[in-house]
C-alpha cells in the first residue's frame, strides 16, 4: 500500500490528514480529540465516555435522531470510541455522500445540545452498559487490576467510569467537559478514500476553519511511581472458571523499548492486531500457548500491549484449566518468562514476528475505514510517522533487545497479578 498523505494545519489549529484511495467508491472520515479517561478526576470518572454518548444526541441543526437516519439512508455507518488517551468519531460513507460526515462533525464540535432530559435518559443507558460489562468476569478482574496498577496516574479507573460518578455527574459537568476539549486545536481530522485532495481540502476549510480555537488546560500528568513489589488482587464471582490477568507496567508508545516489547508480546502470546476492523491471526505456536495450553494448565491465553501516551499495561489473560490451579499457572508463566530472561530468542523468531505484522498490515490495508483510522490513531500518542515507520522499527529489533526488555519489564515487582475465583452458586430456571 502507499503511504502518501497530505497533512494540513488550519488557522484554528485543526490538524488534517488526507489519503486518497481509489479502490472503492467510499470515504471514511474520522475526527479525534485529545481527551480520554486519563483526563478525568475522581468524582468525574466516565465523563469522557458519557460526553461521547451525548455527541449523538443532537444539535439545533441536526436534532436528535436525524443524523442516525440520514447516515443510514445514505448507506453509511458511524460510531465512536472512547479510550484512555483519546475520543474518536467516524463515518464511512459512499464517496459522494461524505459532505454529510464533514458537516456533522464540524457542527457537533461546537453545537451539541446537552439537553437535560437527554442527559438523564443517557445516564441509565450508560449504567446499563456498565452492568453489561459487569456480567463479564474479565471486566470485573480487569477493573481491579487496573486500579491496583495505578495508585497515582489517572489511568487507574475504567473508561466507562465508576458507578458512583455515573449516578451523580450533572449536565453542567458534561457540557463544560465538552466545551473545554472539543475545540479545533485539540482535534485531528483524518479522511481516507475516493476523493480529490484539493476538492476535499476546500470543503474541510469551509466547514471547520470558522470554528475558533480556544485555550486548552494543560494535560495533567501524575506519573506513576515505580512499583516496588508484586501486587495481587483477588476477585470472587459466579461461574466455574478461574481467570488470571497478569499486568506488567509497559513502556509508552514513543519509548524506544516499545518496539522490542511488541516483538516480545508476539513471542509470548501471538501478534497483536493493529487493525480495528480486521481480524487477527491465531497464537497457537506462541510460547505461552505451548507451555500453558499444551501443558494442560490453561484452556486459552491471550495478551497485548496498547499504544499509549504514558506507560500503561501489558496484559496477559489466561483461562485456567478446570483441573489446574492458579498457582500452577503462575509458576509456569514465570518459568517461561525466566527462559526469556536467560536466553535471547532466536533471530528466526524475531523475523517471524515481523512477517506476521507485515501480513496484518496487508489485511488492514484492504479496508479504507481502517486506513483512515491509522492516520488519526497514531497522532493521538505519537505521530503518523510512528505508524509508517512501524515495520522498519520492528525489523531493527534484535534478539538481545527482546531479552533486555524482558529482563527490564517482566519482573514480579513490576506486575499486578489478578485472579478471578469462581464461587459455586447454582442458577436454574424459573
Amino acid at each position: 500500500m502507499g503511504n502518501s498523505i497530505t497533512k494540513l494545519e488550519l488557522s484554528n489549529g485543526l490538524l488534517v490528514f488526507l489519503k486518497e484511495i481509489h479502490t472503492a467508491p467510499l470515504v471514511s472520515n474520522w475526527i479525534w480529540y485529545r481527551v480520554g479517561s486519563r483526563d478525568e478526576l475522581p468524582g468525574f470518572t466516565g465523563i469522557s465516555h458519557w460526553t461521547e454518548h451525548m455527541q449523538f444526541k443532537g444539535t439545533s441543526q441536526f436534532p436528535p435522531g436525524v443524523l442516525d437516519k440520514a447516515i443510514s439512508r445514505d448507506g453509511g455507518y458511524w460510531n465512536a470510541f472512547t479510550f484512555l488517551d483519546w475520543t474518536t468519531y467516524f463515518e464511512t460513507m459512499p464517496a459522494d455522500k461524505i459532505d454529510l460526515g464533514l458537516h456533522l462533525e464540524a457542527d457537533r464540535m461546537t453545537n451539541s445540545l446537552y439537553d437535560p432530559e437527554g442527559i438523564n435518559s443517557e445516564r441509565t443507558v450508560i449504567i446499563s452498559e456498565r452492568q453489561g460489562n459487569e456480567n463479564e468476569p474479565l471486566f470485573q478482574l480487569g477493573e481491579e487490576v487496573q486500579a491496583a496498577a495505578f495508585r497515582v496516574h489517572s489511568y487507574h479507573h475504567e473508561i466507562i467510569g465508576d458507578l458512583a460518578d455515573l449516578k451523580t455527574l450533572q449536565r453542567d459537568d458534561l457540557y463544560q467537559h465538552y466545551r473545554t476539549y472539543y475545540v479545533p486545536n485539540n482535534a485531528v481530522l483524518a479522511v481516507a478514500g475516493d476523493f480529490q485532495t484539493e476538492v476535499i481540502s476546500a470543503r474541510i476549510r469551509e466547514f471547520f476553519e470558522a470554528i475558533p480555537s480556544a485555550r486548552m488546560p494543560g494535560r495533567r500528568v501524575r506519573s506513576e511511581p515505580a512499583q516496588t513489589g508484586e501486587r495481587r488482587v483477588m476477585v470472587e464471582g459466579s461461574g466455574e472458571t478461574t481467570y488470571i490477568q497478569a499486568a506488567y507496567h509497559a513502556p509508552a508508545a514513543t519509548h524506544p523499548d516499545f518496539f522490542p516489547y511488541i516483538v516480545m508480546d508476539s513471542l509470548l502470546t501471538g501478534p497483536s492486531n493493529l487493525n480495528m476492523f480486521v481480524r487477527g491471526i491465531s497464537n497457537k505456536t506462541s510460547r505461552l500457548y505451548r507451555s500453558l495450553v499444551e501443558g494442560e494448565l490453561a484452556v486459552s491465553v491471550s495478551g497485548g500491549v496498547p499504544a499509549t501516551i504514558d506507560p500503561y499495561l501489558h496484559s496477559i489473560a489466561i483461562t485456567v484449566h478446570p483441573q489446574s490451579t492458579s498457582e500452577q499457572v503462575v509458576s509456569a508463566l514465570d518459568q517461561e518468562i525466566l527462559r526469556l530472561h536467560d536466553t535471547p530468542p532466536k533471530s528466526e523468531e524475531v523475523a517471524r514476528a515481523v512477517k506476521q505484522v507485515r501480513a496484518l498490515f496487508a489485511y488492514g490495508s484492504e479496508s479504507i475505514t481502517n486506513q483512515a483510522f491509522w492516520m488519526g490513531y497514531s497522532e493521538m500518542f505519537a505521530t503518523y510517522n510512528w505508524f509508517t515507520g512501524y515495520l522498519e522499527k520492528l525489523e531493527k529489533v534484535t534478539p538481545h533487545d527482546v531479552q533486555r526488555v524482558a529482563q527490564t519489564y517482566l519482573r514480579p515487582q513490576n506486575r499486578v497479578l489478578g485472579i478471578y475465583l469462581p464461587v459455586s452458586e447454582r442458577g436454574g430456571s424459573a
Binding site: 479502490t23 470510541f81 460489562n133 480495528m276 497457537k284 505456536t285 501480513a359 475505514t369
Partner: protein, 454 residues
C-alpha cells in the same frame, strides 16, 4: 455501540455489538462496480466442488472461505456437538502435520485458518499474503481430508469445549438465546444448541470423530470462494490442485428439516444466573428462510423494526426515549431453514417488565399497522447504499460470493438487488410481518440475576 476501542482485554464485546447491528463487514470492489457475472468466476470441479473467485489487486492478500454441507443436523441427541467437535479437531493433527507443525506453517507467515461447525454446514475461513496461498490451500485440504484426531489433542479439545460450555452457562446473552430456541423450536433441530451440552460432549469418543469425518466429509456440496490478489483462473487451478481429486462415495445428502410446529401461545422462560448485574431478553418467533419469497420484505421490515438508524423503532423507544438499555435491536437470521426473527435487549433487572412490555407493544404495532412510506424508503435507501461498504474487504466479497451460491441467488444478484429492494411495498411488509411475528405466539426468554424471577 459507541463505546471503547478494542485494545484492552475484555472490551471486545463492544465491537461485536457494532458488527451485529451494522452488518457492515469490511470490503473492496472495483470502483463503482458491484460483483456480477462478468467479474465473478464460478467453476464446478469434476468432483462437485464449486469454486468462486474474484480478483482484487489493491492489497497483496487473499481470503479463502467456504463451507461443506455437514453440520449438527447429523448429530444424535446423545452426542450433540459432534459435528462442531469434529470441525474444531480438524487442525489438531493430519497425516502430514502434527498440531504444532500445522500452526507453525500458518503463523510463521502471518496466515490464518479456522473451521466452525454450524447447524447445516461447517464453515472455514482463512487469509494469507498471496505468496502463501498454496500453503493455505494445502493446509485446508490436509485438514479436511486427512485429519488424524490424535488422542491427546482430542482430550485437550474436549476440556476446552467443556470450559466454553461452562462460560456459556454464565453468559446471560447466550443463555437467553438458548432458552429462546428451546421455546420457539421445541421438537425441531433448531431447538438444540449446535455446541451441545456438557454431558453430550463427554459422551463423544475419538472413534465418533473419525467415523463422522469419514462418512460426512466430502466434496459434494462443498463451496469455496477465493478473493484477492490473484487471477480467478489461477485461483481455480490452485483449488483444483488441492482438492480436485477428493472423493467420498459414502457422503449422504443433508437430512430434510421437519416441519416446525407453531407455538400454542406466547411462552416465557427465565434462566437465573447468580452474580449477574444485567438481564438479557430475547423475544420473537421463527422467521422466513433466506430463499423464501418473504425474505426481502421481512428483512426490510426488520430494518424498520430494529436496525435502521439507531436500532430502528425498538432502539428509539427502549434506548433513546426510555433510556432502559444500552442495546435493543431486532435481528432476522434467514439461513437455509426458518431461522429466528427476534428482538434482544440488555436491561437492568428492575426494568425487565416495562422493557418486555415496550418491546411487545412495538411488535404488536409492527404487525397491525403498515410501516410508513418514509420508513420503507429510508430502509430501502440504506439497503442499496450500504452494499458497496459491505464489499470493501476481500472477506466481505468472499462472503457475498458464498451467499450467491448457498441461496441460489444468481451471479447477477447484486446488480439486480437495488430493483428487488425498491419493489417491496409497505403492504408486503405488513402481510409478511403478521405471518411470522404473531403477538399471541411469541417466545420470550430472559437470563439474569435472581431478581428477574419477581
Amino acid at each position: 455501540m459507541r463505546a471503547y476501542p478494542l485494545f484492552t482485554p475484555g472490551h471486545t464485546a463492544h465491537t461485536d455489538l457494532v458488527r451485529r447491528i451494522s452488518h457492515h463487514q469490511g470490503a473492496t470492489a472495483t470502483p463503482n462496480s458491484l460483483p456480477g457475472p462478468d467479474d465473478i468466476t464460478r467453476t464446478q470441479l469434476p468432483n462437485g466442488i464449486i469454486v468462486l473467485a474474484r480478483s482484487n489487486f489493491n492489497s497483496p492478500s487473499v481470503v479463502v472461505t467456504g463451507y461443506l454441507p455437514v453440520g449438527s443436523l447429523f448429530d444424535s441427541d446423545e452426542k450433540l456437538g459432534l459435528a462442531g467437535f469434529v470441525a474444531s479437531a480438524l487442525m489438531r493433527g493430519t497425516d502430514r502435520y502434527d498440531f504444532q507443525g500445522l500452526y507453525d506453517s500458518l503463523e510463521s507467515v502471518g496466515a490464518s485458518l479456522g473451521f466452525n461447525g454450524g447447524t447445516h454446514s461447517t464453515g472455514f475461513s482463512g487469509n494469507a499474503l498471496v505468496e502463501d496461498l498454496d500453503l493455505l490451500l494445502g493446509i485446508l485440504a490436509e485438514s479436511l481430508r486427512r485429519p488424524t484426531f490424535p488422542e491427546n489433542q482430542v482430550e485437550r479439545l474436549r476440556t476446552q469445549l467443556l470450559t466454553a460450555l461452562a462460560i456459556r452457562a454464565q453468559d446471560t446473552g447466550e443463555m437467553a438465546s438458548l432458552a429462546f430456541d428451546q421455546i420457539v423450536y421445541a421438537g425441531h433441530p433448531y431447538g438444540r444448541p449446535e455446541d451441545g451440552y456438557p454431558e453430550t460432549i463427554q459422551a463423544i469418543n475419538r472413534s465418533d470423530l473419525v467415523e463422522f469425518q469419514r462418512v460426512f466429509y466430502g466434496p459434494k456440496g462443498m463451496t469455496i470462494s477465493v478473493v484477492g490478489a490473484i487471477e480467478p483462473e489461477a485461483a481455480v487451478e490452485k483449488v483444483a490442485q488441492a482438492l480436485g481429486d477428493w472423493e467420498n462415495p459414502r457422503q449422504p445428502p443433508n437430512p430434510d428439516l421437519p416441519v416446525l410446529k407453531q407455538m400454542a401461545e406466547t411462552t416465557t422462560q427465565k434462566v437465573i444466573i447468580q452474580g449477574k448485574f444485567q438481564a438479557d431478553i430475547v423475544i420473537g418467533a421463527a422467521g422466513p428462510e433466506r430463499c423464501s419469497p418473504d425474505y426481502l420484505a421481512a428483512s426490510l421490515g426488520n430494518s424498520v423494526l430494529g436496525q435502521f438508524g439507531m436500532m430502528g423503532r425498538i432502539g428509539e423507544v427502549v434506548r433513546e426515549q426510555a433510556g432502559l438499555a444500552y442495546y435493543a435491536y431486532s435481528s432476522l437470521a434467514g439461513g437455509l431453514g426458518p431461522g429466528p426473527w427476534y428482538i434482544s435487549a440488555g436491561v437492568d433487572p428492575a426494568n425487565l417488565a416495562p422493557s418486555i412490555e415496550m418491546i411487545s407493544k412495538e411488535v404488536a404495532r409492527f404487525v397491525e399497522q403498515p410501516v410508513t412510506h418514509q420508513e420503507l424508503a429510508d430502509s430501502q435507501a440504506n439497503f442499496i447504499g450500504r452494499l458497496p461498504l459491505s464489499l470493501e474487504s476481500n472477506g466481505g466479497v468472499a462472503l457475498a460470493l458464498l451467499n450467491l451460491e448457498r441461496y441460489d441467488l444468481g451471479l447477477d444478484y447484486y446488480r439486480r438487488y437495488p430493483d428487488l429492494v425498491r419493489a417491496i411495498t409497505v403492504n408486503e411488509i405488513l402481510e409478511t410481518a403478521s405471518r411470522y411475528l404473531d403477538p399471541q405466539h411469541l417466545g420470550i426468554a430472559v437470563a439474569g440475576p435472581p431478581e428477574i424471577a419477581a
